[in-house]
């Protein structure tokens, strides 16, 4: 399978002929070598048709040898590793590689949708805006369906990606982006000066253009010179070279994003190794040495397989020892055509002709037939180029057709300045160099080499040295300038810009990937879409996966011509991160599946798990929902059982997730007094109090109890959901608003395990556990809060507070003793059949008592809405007091908390239902309120709810419909008091 590579030369290049790799493309087996890309290996095997275009499904080949490739996009790998739109020109070949062409049916050779080309006079830029409008009902089911199926390129994998990804951070003085001549010298200069340097190299080996071009430096072939340099880097501990690493974005403060392709060059990552690694690189200075992208020339048929950028053809010949064709025409408007012809001929490609669009340039190489002042006006052929049509520049008629299977195009260079524009800087057109360059270097980013418009290797080396030294200098490192090496290379430069050859016949593409032709651009302009951004958007120019790396400049030129304005006026669209597409996997790293977010587990979590509890998410916490027992038919059975056990004897519930904030200091009471709406200055030591706090805008922020443990020591509890927010709020209030208050506070949520023990037998049970405190009603009354001793001297805190409405306590112990305390209570409670109860039972009991919780504290309710308006002290200031007095917050008919009881005890209202009077139209104008929480009340033997209704309790006795249309439920409910159980609170005080 690896034997025949008909277009591979027997010698030369940088591939390793000893390492033969077998690979498959569209199901067919081929061979290649280590050091190949998929593109070079395909070309070596004579495979030149590799894809179909986006809109017209035209046959497409390989245009470039780099990451700018617009055509050769393939689906790489299979199964869960299938990766659509992979650029064959940067995919390193490995043994067992599988790839297939995309966007074709039934096959690459015979693609039925290539009929689209026949309709191309209709499928012009923006045609879809003008049609598919009638009949309106056809849009989604017919037109859009067809458009969506035809559009897109590759297919997403159907299975999950089995590979993993990681993230890492790196810090350096100087980040060098690119490892071509300029980047290497920049890295060397900065490295020798002693700066910590990172050189990020897009490819696997150092060298950039030196690997693909026929250049000698210091009397050595470029690749050897690079190897010598690599050895020096090896010895410099302060220089880190990151191969296969693309800097994809520049962010604020010298931060760069990079992706390291750790395992993309092997079949599967080695065990425990990542496929890709996202780097966040923090640099003090950076040098952009990203090189330049060769640009094509727009002419008819410039998309045919066999039309290739000249630099790419040279690279395939020089680096990969691959002949991209048998007989070439080299076309361009710079001296690069001559070095191209030379290199191709050296590699054994017959050079049929050089077509140099410039006239009057001196003869550079008599070896080849040269048409000076001529252009290639058309590439002839279908699935492959078969001839180049040549005509005199400016003439309308063709001179001759030169048979060939390769047309190499050298249209000058586009500096890769994208990274330099990511923070909003605009490039400017340089008339002399005929390209867009950055007019300024900003924010510690230096630009070197061809990215700065230096075309020759010599100039690139010098510029790299200079910028590397400058970057190191800015970090305080004195750089000695490395000596400059003698460079020998073929002719280059002397560009006379030629962007487009006009032609009446055939399609001439500006953006090959999105199938945008010169006529599309001209049409957009003629219709008035005449700013660069309008043209881009109307034609989709530059919006493909290459972000217009090859097409944008020609698009700007064609626009400029249509508008009669200079290119500088037209400008160019903005490049955005990422420089080349980045996988979601790399951006996500390990935060996948269950690792998306951490779990917070209470100290007693294992106990709940052992009892088979199911869990509910609250924030990041897992809270026991209920503890199933055999005989329960569903969760409700379990919850009912737990409620009954608690209300009739005793239950225990893990409430460790409540926020706990320890507050100490002489001004602790004053702080609380300003945070809560009720008064705190007179709370006695050993007492707890319920508090409600508002936001500054007057709406309720959170509630909870706070206890005074000693003279200057308080402990606050918050709801689970708002624990973090309340803590930040307190910090803000103290540090920003009242820094003069002498108070300290810290979140101790994780440090304390807390459990509610509730029910008529709770006192007896706890008395068996607490060692030093009399729990009798007289000695430890309702709202008592004191330190206690248990477990042989462990100091805990006991609060006589109740959420369930029963005689109840909450016991807090240091987290490490949580499990022991819990078990001790379970043991002490065994005689009373103590039952653990979960969040469902807790919720039932709090609804039975009409206590507000999350659904009621939704950030839009006032204290008054919750029936707690009277708590608001009139004698002091507190956060939110002023704004709580605004007219709309004190209106009488605001929706206020009520109890809701189905008239038919068999019926169940749903939370989220809206309350409507009976026999009215179901419209918003009749909406009276909503049901916020519901529960099945074992005490009442029926479903009950609480909710909000205009005028609130005034409407007690009224009957309304709780309408939940989504599930088709309409339940007649009566407005009642929200406290369904023990309204006088006798149990609490028992």
């Amino acid at each position: 399978m690896t034997e025949s590579q008909p277009f591979r030369n027997a010698a030369g290049g940088l591939v390793d002929r000893e390492q033969k790799f077998g690979f498959r493309f569209d199901g067919k087996s081929y061979g290649g070598f280590a050091g190949d890309t998929l593109a070079s290996a395909l070309l070596a095997n004579g495979v030149r048709l590799v894809g179909r275009s986006f809109k017209y499904h035209r046959p497409r080949g390989i245009l470039t040898a780099g990451s700018e490739e617009p055509n050769a996009l393939v689906e790489l790998r299979v199964g869960g590793r299938r990766e659509p739109n992979s650029r064959a020109t940067v995919v390193e070949l490995f043994h067992g590689l599988e790839a297939s062409s995309q966007n074709r049916w039934p096959s690459l050779d015979y693609d039925l949708l290539s009929v689209n080309s026949l309709f191309s006079p209709i499928f012009v830029a923006g045609f879809y805006y003008k049609t598919f409008k009638w009949p309106p009902s056809f849009w989604e089911p017919v037109y859009e369906r067809i458009i969506r199926r035809a559009a897109g390129l590759g297919r997403a994998a159907l299975e999950h990606d089995p590979d993993h990804y990681e993230k890492a951070h790196a810090h350096c003085d100087v980040l060098v982006i690119g490892a071509g001549p300029a980047g290497l010298m920049a890295g060397l200069a900065a490295g020798r000066a002693g700066a910590r340097v990172i050189i990020a190299n897009e490819g696997p080996t150092l060298g950039g253009a030196l690997l693909g071009e026929n250049i000698s430096v210091d009397g050595k072939p470029g690749s050897e010179w690079v190897a010598q340099l690599a050895a020096e880097f090896e010895a410099l501990d302060n220089v880190q070279i990151m191969p296969r690493t693309t800097i994809f974005g520049r962010y604020d403060g010298g931060v760069y994003g990079a992706v390291e392709h750790v395992s993309d060059h092997v079949v599967v990552p080695s065990p425990h190794n990542a496929r890709q690694r996202l780097w966040r690189i923090y640099s003090k200075q950076a040098v952009l040495a990203g090189g330049a992208t060769e640009r094509g020339i727009v002419f008819a048929g410039n998309d045919r397989p066999g039309v290739m950028h000249a630099q790419a053809a040279r690279t395939y010949a020089n680096r990969y020892a691959v002949r991209a064709g048998e007989r070439a025409v080299v076309f361009g408007s710079t001296d690069d055509v001559y070095r191209t012809a030379h290199d191709l001929a050296e590699a054994g490609i017959e050079v049929a002709a050089i077509v140099d669009a410039r006239s009057g340039t001196p003869e550079r190489n008599a070896r080849f037939e040269t048409f000076r002042g001529y252009v290639v006006s058309r590439a002839l052929g279908g699935r492959a180029v078969r001839a180049a049509e040549v005509r005199k520049s400016g003439d309308d008629y063709a001179l001759e057709q030169i048979p060939c299977d390769l047309i190499c195009v050298a249209g000058g260079w586009t500096p890769n300045i994208q990274i330099a524009t990511h923070l909003g800087q605009r490039p400017a057109y340089d008339e002399d160099k005929a390209c867009f360059l950055m007019p300024h270097e900003t924010g510690g980013l230096h630009i070197a080499g061809s990215a700065a418009g230096h075309w020759g290797t010599d100039a690139c080396l010098k510029s790299g040295t200079e910028k590397g030294a400058a970057a190191a200098g800015s970090c305080g490192f004195e750089a000695a300038t490395p000596g400059t090496d003698e460079v020998e290379e073929g002719p280059y430069g002397n560009l006379v810009p030629l962007y487009r050859v006009k032609s009446k016949l055939g399609k001439a593409f500006v953006d090959l990937q999105n199938d945008v032709t010169d006529k599309d651009v001209a049409l957009a302009v003629s219709e008035g879409y005449d700013s660069a951004e309008h043209t881009k958007r109307y034609t989709t120019l530059g919006m493909a996966t290459d972000q217009g790396k090859t097409g944008n400049i020609n698009g700007a030129a064609v626009m400029a011509e249509a508008l009669g304005e200079p290119i500088a006026e037209v400008g160019i669209t903005t490049a955005r991160p990422p420089y080349t597409p980045v996988s979601f996997g790399a951006l996500v790293g390990h935060s996948v599946g269950k690792h998306f977010s951490p779990y917070r587990l209470t100290p007693m979590h294992e106990w709940h798990e052992d009892r088979g509890a199911t869990f509910i998410e609250t924030g990041l916490w897992l809270r026991a929902q209920f503890y199933p027992k055999s005989g329960d038919s569903d969760w409700l059975d379990a919850a009912k059982r737990e409620v009954k056990a608690t209300r009739s004897s005793v239950g225990i519930c893990d409430v460790s997730t409540l926020g706990k904030i320890d507050i100490q200091g002489p001004d602790a009471a004053e702080l609380l007094n300003r945070l809560y709406i009720n008064g705190w200055l007179k709370l006695a030591v050993g007492k707890a109090r319920y508090g409600l706090m508002l936001r500054e805008d007057g709406f309720v922020m959170d509630d909870g109890t706070t206890s005074r443990l000693s003279e200057n020591h308080y402990v606050m509890t918050t709801t689970t959901a708002n624990a973090g927010g309340v803590m930040s709020h307190i910090e803000f209030c103290h540090q920003v608003l009242w820094p003069q208050l002498d108070v300290q506070y810290v979140s101790v949520t994780e440090q304390w395990a807390q459990m509610a023990v509730a029910g008529p037998r709770s006192r007896e049970v706890l008395q068996g556990v607490i060692e030093d405190t009399d729990l009798s009603n007289e000695a430890f009354p309702f709202m008592a809060a004191r330190e206690v001793s248990l477990l042989g001297g462990v100091r805990g805190r006991l609060f006589r507070i109740s959420f369930s409405g029963e005689l109840a306590y909450e016991l807090a112990v240091p987290a490490d003793y949580g499990m022991a305390a819990w078990q001790a209570i379970m043991t002490a409670g065994a005689a009373h059949n103590i039952a653990p109860y979960g969040l469902e039972a807790l919720s039932i009991m709090r609804v039975e008592k009409g206590h507000p919780a999350g659904p009621e504290l939704d950030g839009r309710t006032t204290a008054g809405d919750l029936g707690l308006g009277r708590m608001m002290s009139q004698r002091k200031e507190f956060i939110g007091r002023v704004m709580a007095g605004r007219p709309a917050l004190v209106e009488e008919d605001r929706p206020r908390l009520v109890g809701l009881k189905p008239v038919n005890a068999e019926e169940r209202p749903y939370a989220g239902a809206h309350l409507l009077p009976e026999d009215v139209e179901h419209t918003a104008s009749n909406d009276q309120g909503w049901v916020s929480s519901t529960a099945f009340s074992p005490s009442l033997g029926q479903w009950i709810g609480i909710g909000f209704i205009k005028d609130g309790q005034k409407r007690a006795g009224e009957q309304l419909i709780a309408a939940e249309f989504l599930r088709g439920s309409q339940v007649k409910v009566e407005v009642v008091d929200p406290v369904f159980v023990d309204p006088k609170g006798e149990k609490l005080h028992a």
Partner: protein, 416 residues
Amino acid sequence: MNYSIFSLVRQALKGHKDWPKVWRRILPEPKYDVVIIGGGGHGLATAYYLATKHNVGRVAVLEKSWLGGGNIGRNTTIVRSNYLLAGNEPFYEFSLKLWEGLTQELNYNVMFSQRGIINLFHSDAQRDAFVRRGNSMLLHGADAVLLDRDGVKRHAPMVDLDNARFPVMGGLMQPRGGTARHDAVAWGYARGADMAGVDIIQNCEVTGLRITNGTIQGVETNLGFIGAEKLGVAVAGNSSDISRMAQFDLPIESHVLQAFVSEGLKPFIDTVVTFGAGHFYISQSDKGGLVLGGDLDGYNSYARRGNLPTVEHVMECGVAMIPRLKRLRVLRSWGGIMDMSMDGSPIIDMTPVNGLYFNTGWCYGGFKATPASGWCFAHLIANDASHEVATGLRLDRFRTGRMIDESGHGAQPNLH
């Protein structure tokens, strides 16, 4: 010229030579009845409705750059009317109804695709909150469906229901919601306004307001003074700049929101899906790119770009919801500047200056509002009274406390 398949074929035969300019390239006249600052979606829609529904004689739209270059050209194109509160829902439902006829109204295919939007929920409490919202939508005449897990699987099979950190319990779906082609909306309104006689002036930057005795006289621009009987401001991202010219501040902060598009793919996601355990939304454009976004970066910004931690966080939410995204690639990211209002809801109102009107505070939801925003702003400017679906969207609500706070976060704009 009417756009249709027939005109397209006729033009195709003639080499597309006779298409008229989609809008005129013109210089401003000295004075207009109404000047709108801002050639984005809302400004253009306002001008279109002023000219076509209110017969206002001379209307100009001033755009400091290229029309459609603001948030209309850089959003994630989601259209929906799935709001809870009575201050919002009638407005957005009105907007959705306008969307439903917009392609025909403008004779320009805005590619409004009612593919449905699903808000996933991951807990009982979240479901209950969505149920409350869904019923509110229904009572306001919108549509809503509660999906169970099977329903989510049916509409969005790529969503991971089981292995996630926050397993999906179901979703609230609005079948009439969907996406549209954002640029086409700007261009369609611009073309329609231009045909109705509105002067759209690009590259015309307002540098000052001329106000005499508390009444607007016109605007100073780089093209000179332009007189205006009435001045409407619809400049998302720059509202505070203009209000400052009139000597008052707004309850607005400017924040950057990033958005992303993936490489083009064959159909992968058929609806709009939003994550319930983090801020993330995704859909697929007709061209094949996945269009996605998440949270604000969280700090005040006028730069149309954000930072890496937010990028990573958005992607984490995306992959948590759709693990198959991992192997796909993000093609492009960008930022837009949001006028984040202090309660998360918009403002369409008069101002302390006679004849000066503001349309602002759209947060990151302005795209879907475009038709109704234009309609109601035009109504306000023409009649000096709020349109009936926009009576809640007034500035005085911050004083009276009649907040429209969908998220319940209070006066903290970066949390809405």
